[in-house]
């Protein structure tokens, strides 16, 4: 009953694309705001910048593997760049621009951390080393803008099918002609990116960092809160719309996807992290393992959420 065209490969790409974009945005935010320079080793910024390019690249590779004739005759991929009326073409342009810039950003972060790499750069491109922080800042801004594009365009892509899959084209608010999916994808992307780079990686590397970057608790609460609201609005709007959209919402809320939704997304990815971070703000202290746990929860809930959206995409009733 649900659409059968897009499956696991697309879901993992959405996850990786959002994650990579969000991770880079986290890093870029820390870079631009100057918080990165609180310490000369900022694992969040390092991780965010370095993994973003490869992960989005890997996701794009998965997309190519999901193609049909484009796999066996790869030169056809050039044609993907040609139809500017199609969101998929925008996406491919954005990805093509983003990945090199993100890789460059990652390089600029790695230079600070690993002398071996710095040595190679010094040997080949010594001019690069003249003012790494400046270049890094500029690259962060450029890649950050593109990262927003990467995170958002997938939402636009699935909402562009319009009446074909009503769940995907639900508006943010009934009277507002802005689709929900791009916004939801963006928030989820930032949330998962932050969860990976900070709550998981940075905390494992430097456990006390959670205490030091208390701002992250606030950021998480805001993001989770917004995400919560958005998902709730999406389901309400879908239920209200009737037809296939309502069917999708029913499937998610009390149908075959209900456990995945309530446990995998809401409990693990929204409620638990929210409680953890709210408690951390309120009580003023941070439990290490709950921080890591909430990070893992947000991360995996991001994947579950994309699974839900793709697999609850029921086409319009005829």
């Amino acid at each position: 009953m649900t659409q059968t065209a897009w499956g696991w490969l697309v879901i993992i790409y959405l996850f990786l694309g959002g994650l990579g974009a969000g991770a880079l945005l986290t890093a870029a935010l820390l870079e631009v705001s100057g918080w990165r320079y609180k310490r000369d080793y900022c694992p969040t910024a390092l991780t965010g910048a370095v993994i973003s390019g490869p992960i989005v690249g890997l996701g794009s590779l998965l997309l190519i593997l999901d193609l049909g004739a484009g796999k066996t005759e790869p030169w056809r991929i050039v044609y993907l760049f040609t139809n500017f009326g199609s969101v998929m073409t925008w996406g491919i342009w954005i990805l093509t621009l983003f990945i090199p810039v993100a890789l460059f950003y990652g390089l600029l972060e790695l230079i600070e951390v690993e002398p071996f790499i710095k040595g190679i750069v010094w040997a080949r491109f010594p001019r690069l080393l003249r003012n790494v922080p400046l270049y890094r800042r500029r690259t962060a801004i450029a890649s950050g803008i593109l990262a927003v594009g990467v995170a958002v365009y997938t939402g636009v892509l699935i909402s562009a099918v319009g009446p074909a899959v009503p769940l995907w084209s639900q508006p943010v608010l009934p009277f507002l002609p802005i689709p929900m999916m791009p916004l939801l994808f963006l928030i989820s992307a930032i949330s998962t990116g932050m969860a990976l780079t900070f709550d998981l990686v940075a905390t494992i590397a430097i456990p006390e960092i959670q205490q030091q970057m208390r701002i992250m608790d606030l950021a998480h609460i805001v993001l989770i809160g917004v995400e919560n609201v958005l998902i709730g609005l999406l389901l309400l709007s879908a239920l209200n719309a009737g037809g296939a959209a309502a069917e999708s919402a029913r499937m998610i809320m009390y149908g075959p996807l209900s456990i995945l939704f309530w446990v995998g997304v809401v409990l693990v990815g929204l409620i638990y992290p929210f409680v953890v971070h709210a408690y951390a703000i309120g009580a003023g202290r941070h439990s290490l393992w709950s921080g890591i746990g909430s990070g893992a929860g947000i991360l995996i809930a991001g994947l579950f959420l994309r699974y839900l959206i793709v697999f609850a995409g029921i086409p319009a009733q005829l």
Partner: protein, 515 residues
């Protein structure tokens, strides 16, 4: 938490690792959550596509597998009877699901239970059930070229009073794999005739038109039986009446190679409807030259039978200007309509014999050549001709009769020398001619003038003996070697470095003297 001696970039590997873990965990846990989650019943079902699933059951597992059938069916006959090809189940009836027609108990692997309540062949036992789906059968199908009273039959089947007529009697084995595209509806008139012929039912079926409508609209000119020989199958046709006799290939060809379906229209029986004229000459009336038995053969036959015309064609291309005029050469009736350029296809020029003698002074041809005359023409076509028409066919030979090179004094009897067997016999064409004819053509020649003959005529022994240098009376060339042997001359000249002297004597010896 990480050992401090580890390099800083290890966190990157950690990040990748965590991503992989997340994906793996999700991939494993999703099926579990779906399995545990409730199904969406009784939420309204969205329309399903086709209704095969609930109704096929396990029937196919046995009935499409020969081995299983062999194990349980008993005899080979049973196996053949119950075996269904899996491919045929993809037909429109097949995909309805077995239970739709055969009843029985679906979803049962046990044979006894599965066969409970089974209807063997729906189309034979419960024909009215066909109508449960095919409910909108109109009384007569509009595209049907049979006025088959489907409505009557339908109603009769419903009422059980159809005399045992079943849908499958006409529609053949509308089993599982009925192919609707080719529309092979196996109709046989025999079914209708069984009842209608024997039992004097409403329509006696003696007149094809009672039921059959067209498809050809030829009822005004032909009757069905003219072509359709069998009422078992209308496809068998035999050519009965055909407005034009068909010969040669035409008799063997398929009707539709020339005619257009369905009304045999579109052919005014002009050759050019089918045949393209390959040659330029002539017009579209192919029959002028060709017969349908065989184009090439008829043309060859015509050519073979055509008379040759006795005059040359050059300069006389306007055949009709003479040959269509009333009092001129009569033209056979079947040549009407032919044009000038067609004459030469069959008729070849075989010019009449040329006039060998001078015409001046001999205009009254018939004086010698007429009936009973000296040189009478024996060919029949000269009957009734007059002097004026001779030149129409006979042209001057362009070869002047040879002049007499010797003086005529004391030589009145030409034949003394010139008869056959004489010193210088006449050619064969002169056979039977006597002395008084000779001078009609041959004239005493005058010696050539100095200008005509610069070489001295009294060159040694040649005086008055033209034939020494011009043997065979051939004055177009000269032969010095009659006296001057070629071998000796060649030797003499080569000693002086002059080669290839043949026929070039006069070039160096114009006066017959040594240079």
């Amino acid at each position: 938490m990480l050992p401090s001696h580890w390099p800083k970039w290890v966190v990157i590997l950690l990040a990748f690792g965590l991503i992989v873990v997340a994906i793996v965990v999700a991939a494993l846990s999703v099926p579990l959550t779906r399995a545990l989650a409730p199904d969406l019943t009784p939420a309204p079902e969205l329309p399903e596509i086709n209704y095969a699933e609930p109704l096929s059951g396990e029937c196919e597992l046995c009935h499409t597998d020969e081995q299983i059938l062999q194990a349980s069916a008993g005899s080979q006959e049973n196996v053949d009877a119950y075996y269904i090809e899996a491919a045929s189940l993809e037909g429109p009836h097949g995909s309805l699901g077995c239970i739709t027609c055969h009843e029985g108990t679906g979803n049962e692997a046990d044979k006894e239970i599965a066969h409970q309540g089974l209807i063997d062949d729906l189309s034979e036992t419960h024909p009215e059930d066909c109508l449960l789906c095919h409910r909108n059968l109109p009384d007569q199908l509009p595209e049907d070229n049979l006025r088959t009273p489907h409505g009557l039959i339908r109603d009769a089947v419903w009422a059980g009073s159809a005399c045992g007529v079943l849908c499958s009697d006409c529609h053949g084995q509308v089993g599982h794999g009925f192919d609707p595209v080719t529309g092979e509806i196996i109709c046989s008139m025999k079914v209708c005739l069984d009842c209608h012929q024997e039992r004097n039912l409403e329509a006696r079926l003696s007149d094809c038109n009672t039921c059959h409508v067209g498809p050809h609209d030829l009822s005004a000119v032909m009757s069905c039986k003219d072509c359709h020989v069998s009422s078992d199958t209308w496809r068998e046709t035999q050519l009965g009446v055909h407005p034009v006799e068909l010969v040669g290939y035409h008799a063997d060809a398929n009707c539709f190679e020339c005619h257009r379906w369905p009304n045999f229209k579109g052919l005014d029986y002009v050759c050019s409807d089918c045949h393209k004229r390959p040659h330029e000459i002539g017009n579209d009336d192919c029959a002028l030259c060709h017969t349908p038995e065989g184009w090439a053969a008829s043309a060859d036959a015509l050519v073979a039978g055509a008379t040759a015309f006795p005059h040359p064609a050059i300069g006389r291309e306007e055949c009709r200007s003479c040959h269509w005029v009333e009092d001129q050469e009569a033209i056979p009736e079947d040549h009407k309509g032919r044009t000038n350029d067609t004459c030469l296809v069959c008729h070849q020029a075989a010019p009449a014999p040329a006039i060998m003698h001078l015409v001046e002074g001999h205009e009254a041809c018939l004086n010698c050549h007429g009936e009973g005359q000296v040189a009478e023409f024996t060919v029949d076509i000269h009957q009734g001709r007059d002097d004026a028409s001779c030149r129409t066919c006979h042209e001057l030979a362009g070869v002047a009769p040879r002049p007499i090179l010797h003086s005529l004094d004391g030589r009145a009897d030409c034949l003394m020398c010139h008869a056959a067997g004489g010193v210088k016999p006449n050619p064969e064409s002169h056979e039977g001619w006597d002395n008084d004819l000779c001078l009609l053509c041959h004239q005493a020649s005058e010696q050539p003038t100095q200008a005509e003959h610069p070489f001295p005529k009294d060159h040694n022994a040649a005086a008055s003996n033209c034939i020494l240098c011009h043997p065979d009376n051939d004055y177009s060339t000269y032969h010095c070697e009659t006296c001057h042997a070629l071998a000796g001359m060649t030797q003499v000249h080569e000693a002086r470095g002059i080669k290839e002297i043949e026929k070039r004597c006069v070039l160096c010896h114009p006066q017959g003297k040594k240079p």
